[in-house]
Subunit: 430 residues, 2 copies
């Protein structure tokens, strides 16, 4: 008899793994990215509300919150999952369209700190959790996402469960029950996009993983087939049930390797254009005109013509390209200021930039045509899904982290992430 | 423009209400039932696991757990929701098929105790929460339930939100956002039936209500249309969208009035037969033969022929009817013992009892034909949905509570529930 999806995922999640060197390096990179987003996210109103709620309940000091203080691991996962997604600046996996780090690391670091695990143990557990998120997300498929489910929350909860369960040393049978119990708990709607509910969804996924794993470890008995049985999560949540796709080369190849990182603190729809423009070495004085072509869906999302606020700038091709041409660092949160939007140099540049839809482009592509004052014409195209060499990615991610946290802290964090240190050694940076 | 479902539910939940006398009496009755089930449920393994987890996290002493000790209200709701559903002995509303008390009271009492509310305040808030649960459940409809969602958990979460939100004095706009935030959090699958996951689902609903209400009260901003918008909970969760049905006479008539209580500590499929048999005043020595007719669906659920364990007895027409004929109290947990199953008198009686399916009966009906040793034939039929006079119901519920808690405690609890006492005055009974 063929084993069920859940059994195979549970066996993978509980057993020895042999990740590629790239997978190991990429998960460390995503850990740095998650830490940067989480630490930088603590000033967001939603983070403050969750942080205050956690402190008002307090309890056992098991794991650190972004923003400081220790609380029960279950609560830390909720708060840190929310906080690290609050800036919407964390990583994305396009195969299932979800942000795996915010759920998986928030669960893994909280459980890791509570149980005195080392950073390599947490990174390995998180790698497994990421892979489970992505594969459950693929199994659920586009119908699940299009119906209205937020994969970061739904698929993410299973990833968080796998990561936490691995750290607690669950057996295969326990891991399967934990995934099954997660199926009755995993939730999250895209209807909350544009509100504080979006980052909260990520926190829900993280805390679900911690909670169900702790319960199963304590002897709780659940239906271990509740993910993929007839009345299970997939069937009830408009899943496509792409089992073959989900299990393809499980344990051999690592879908997580193709994780994508954000290098600009603005709407994802602007990133391909910014990357294309970067390759042209855009400089304000040389620009006669600049034409951007992008996928039609972005026109209603992030084509504000002349926003007057920093928040508006995050949804404006003309503004972010003008910022880039003025030499501003689009990775920094501070760049997106009301003051810069009012800068006459920026306003003048915006007038030279034109945006149009092109349905020949995919959602991750953009095309830039530059006419320089000296008459030269330059073209560039970028696809966010195009592979980037690891070294290039690392350099850019370190630079992004520095923009968020300052060079000194990043050097220290990056060094710790390559050490055998305990999770608790990271605590002072939270 | 017609107001949305959520707006109308939020207005109802936040505004002055004028419940009927019956609705007020019934909610007090359900409160006693919930307390009896919760207090009696503390020995169940699932309750013990959740209770221990709560104590291991501890934190602010805001609300009592069934089984004793105070923890944060959010955690108390999780544990008490699970514990009060652990025996599966709590109330049921057949219009949407859900157990409203376990989610709504578990949230309402926890929040009520935390904020120093009185019992009348909690009972009123719970009545509103029950009504919201039932009406959201009707709006979601049979398709939601048949697809695999556990209405106790899903519809229940909205009821818990309404009850908690009313106690915190949320405005209509806040209540609407709380219901919208709940939509991204509400979850629970029937796939967990028969495992500890079933009562846990009830706990999840209760804690969801407390959590989202506390967040909204603290300034969290959510999409208040996430219940009934195009990408909302109904559309994503196979809801039928029976808006008219859900809103019919909202605020005028109280669907909660037709709540059903369990008077036997066994599978609900056996109750109609037990009630019919009770009306015949069944006595072992007089029985020549007894025929039970029941809806076909129960034949695979609760027709064990000669179970040898107390647990098996809970799923056996022949056994529970033999117990009744022997004068045993089927309301008591202790009645369902392995020893009684092995009693030769019970075994002999079982041989006289025959069960058959009859698709002319509804799921809530059963028919009993008794042939007595003196040759007399008696017939009785019972429908669990048939109305019971309030006084009859109250007497039976007090007797059930006494079977679970003893007469003295029930007298005290029942008197408190009719007083102006604070929620915390109930604490010593938890």
């Amino acid at each position: 008899m063929t084993e069920t999806l859940t059994t195979q995922l549970a066996r993978f999640a509980s057993s020895d793994i042999r990740p590629t060197g790239l997978a190991r390096r990429m998960v460390r990179l995503s850990a740095l990215d998650w830490l940067a987003c989480g630490i930088a996210g603590t000033d967001e109103p939603v983070s403050q509300i969750l942080h205050a709620q956690a402190l008002s309940e307090a309890g056992a000091t098991q794991a650190h919150l972004f923003g400081g203080q220790k609380v029960p691991a279950r609560m830390a996962a909720l708060v840190n999952g929310t906080t690290s997604h609050a800036l919407d600046y964390d990583d994305t996996h396009f195969a299932h369209i979800g942000h795996p780090s915010v759920a998986v690391f928030s669960a893994g670091f909280a459980v890791g700190e509570k149980y005195g695990k080392s950073l390599p143990q947490v990174l390995e557990a998180a790698l497994v959790g990421m892979e489970i998120s992505i594969r459950v997300g693929l199994w659920l498929g586009r119908s699940h996402y299009q119906t209205g489910y937020h994969q970061t929350a739904t698929a993410g909860a299973f990833g968080a469960t796998a990561a936490a369960g691995r750290l607690l040393g669950l057996t295969v049978a326990q891991m399967q029950m934990a995934l099954g119990l997660c199926a009755t708990r995993a939730a999250g709607l895209k209807a909350q996009f544009g509100t504080m509910g979006k980052p909260y969804n990520a926190g829900l996924a993280a805390t679900a993983g911690v909670e169900v794993v702790e319960l199963i470890a304590a002897g709780f008995e659940a239906n271990g087939e509740a993910l993929d049985s007839a009345l299970g999560f997939g069937a009830t949540h408009h899943g496509e049930g792409n089992t073959e796709l989900a299990l393809q080369e499980l344990g051999q190849s690592w879908l997580f390797e193709s994780i994508s990182h954000k290098f600009h603190a603005c709407c994802h729809g602007l990133h391909a254009a910014l990357e294309a423009a970067r390759s042209l070495d855009l400089a304000a004085p040389e620009i006669a005109s600049l034409k951007v072509r992008t996928h039609p869906r972005w026109m209603t999302v992030c084509n504000q013509i002349a926003p007057e606020t920093g928040l508006g700038a995050k949804f404006s091709y003309r503004t972010v390209l003008a910022m880039l041409a003025l030499g501003k660092d689009t990775a920094r949160l501070e760049t997106y200021s009301d003051a810069l939007c009012r800068d006459p140099r920026l306003a003048a540049l915006r007038e030279l930039i034109h945006v149009e839809a092109d349905d020949g482009l995919s959602e991750t592509e953009a095309d830039i045509s530059l006419v320089r004052r000296d008459g030269r014409r330059l073209e560039a195209r970028h696809d966010l899904q195009a592979p980037t060499e690891y070294e290039v990615r690392e350099a850019r991610l370190l630079s992004k982290a520095e923009a968020l946290l300052g060079a000194e802290r990043v050097t220290e964090l990056w060094s710790l992430l390559q050490s055998e240190a305990a999770v608790s050694d990271l605590a002072e940076y939270f």
